[in-house]
């Protein structure tokens, strides 16, 4: 079950169709209010919104970790099975397992033999430049390395839908910028559909090809914007006028914060 990692887009992405999706919780009331949008296979979409706007709830619904109250949410892949990878806000590694054994976990749960799982996981650790840390325990790693291990774990099942919930928010700026570029490269190489939740306008513009801006709770769709920037994005882009122009447009559409309800 090995795949050679030749360059080029190897996995077709999954498509997401979301129609009049609503979800409410006991304590906070309505969180998502009749949300409708579609994501095409292989798109890199940023879900942008103020804190507590329900974008994480939307991501959990897409992951199948939660069920909507009403409306429709369909995730489908041309190849058949939808394989999801999820990266949480924290690295959420198991402290009693080494980096390698954390990375093999999704495969073990799917019933892979240990040897096969370890060789598959080793490929993703190489991609995330963690090969020499494979035998380390999470507490021996820096925050950035833990997050890279978490991304490697999400990639081991070769997902066609990668879901990320503000994964880089807790990292320092150089580390965050490095991981953003790495994630963009991974997407260019593998071509899965990516849904990236963030509250940072600059992060959304740098990473995504399309940005969906959500309002304060209950979340409605405010703006659906195609980012006009080159496909390959490097550090110089962060100071380029075209980039700043995109940031300005999105920032203007962002709901004004203040009411922390």
């Amino acid at each position: 079950m090995n795949s050679d990692l030749h360059p080029g887009r190897e996995h077709a992405g999954a498509a997401i169709r979301c129609a009049a999706l609503s979800r409410s919780f006991g304590g906070t009331g309505l969180v998502l209010d009749r949300l409708s949008f579609q994501v095409e296979p292989g798109e890199f979409v940023a879900l942008l919104g103020p804190s507590g706007s329900g974008k994480s709830s939307l991501l959990r619904l897409t992951a199948g970790l939660d069920n909507p109250d009403s409306g429709q949410l369909v995730v489908e892949a041309a190849s058949g099975a939808v394989l999801r990878g999820f990266v949480f806000q924290e690295a959420t590694l198991m402290p009693w397992r080494t980096v390698l054994r954390n990375t093999t976990l999704p495969l073990e749960l799917a019933g892979w033999a240990r040897v096969d799982a370890e060789s598959r996981a080793a490929e993703e650790l190489r991609r995330m430049r963690l090969t020499e840390f494979a035998a380390r325990y999470p507490h021996e790693l820096s925050g950035g390395m833990k997050m890279r291990a978490s991304v490697a774990r999400a990639l081991t099942t070769q997902p066609n839908l990668l879901l990320l919930d503000e994964p880089f928010a807790a990292l320092d700026e150089p580390t965050r910028h490095g991981l953003q570029m790495q994630l963009r490269e991974i997407w260019l190489a593998l071509g899965m559909t990516v849904l990236f939740v963030t509250h940072s306008v600059t992060e959304a513009v740098f990473l995504a090809d399309r940005i969906i801006v959500l309002s304060h709770r209950p979340a409605r769709l405010i703006l659906d914007h195609m980012v006009v920037l080159p496909e390959r994005r490097d550090a110089e882009l962060r100071t380029a006028l075209e980039y700043i122009d995109q940031v300005r447009r999105i920032a203007a559409a962002m709901p004004v914060s203040g009411e922390a309800s």
Binding site: A63, L65, F86, E90, T92, M94, L105, P106, L109, H139
Partner: protein, 257 residues
Amino acid sequence: MTLNARLASWLPPLLPLIVSLGAAEIAVRLAWVPSYLVPAPSEVLQSLLDDRSELALAAWATLSSALAGLALSFLAGTFFAIVLSSSDLARRAFYPYAVFFQTVPIISIAPLLVIWFGFGQPTVIASATIVSVFPIIASTLLGLKSTEPALLDLFKLYTASSGQTLWMLKIPFALPQIFSGLRIASGLAVVGAIVGEFIGGGGLGSVVDGARTQQRIDRVFAAVLISSLLGVVLVGAVNFISALSLGSWHSSERNSS
């Protein structure tokens, strides 16, 4: 560590011991305290040496009963905690009784145990089990219920079976609490065994009881000293196993060795 540094770390706890033993010795020798109430430390030491083979046999009997009781309460307590953690209904239905069970004083049901299990080791083991099972249930249950929610989500995302979630996530996550329950339970198992021996016979409990009726206060003290040592040895053994299994990853063990 140099010899001086080692001495410096041992001296603070040793000093009160030496002073109080010395004071007791002087108090008894000068007859400030009658020797039928408190024996001189030297008498206790003499009794330990004179009766060493009998005390060693009794200590072994108590230790093996305490270990058997601890093993039983570990198996039963862990099983019970897993059942309680798997269903809210089960927890609401049974946990209050587990708490109630814990509050029944063992000394008052020990005669019942003799009626059920007869004189001898089964009664002693039952007593050790009853006294030590609750801390294991409570700690294990707490550990199983405190699994990190994001990790539970991860297992759900990959459609893990409930068996996989239990063995690969919940139990490893609960290990520190399981060990802290075992640590409390291992001290209590010795207490439970000795209480059982008061009534069911055998072991250090019988030695204490017999020496009391013979007014051999020095033997009582010698047996009490050994029974405390047994508790220390058991707790030490649990600490050792805990350090072996958590040492590589858990913060409670990481810096201590």
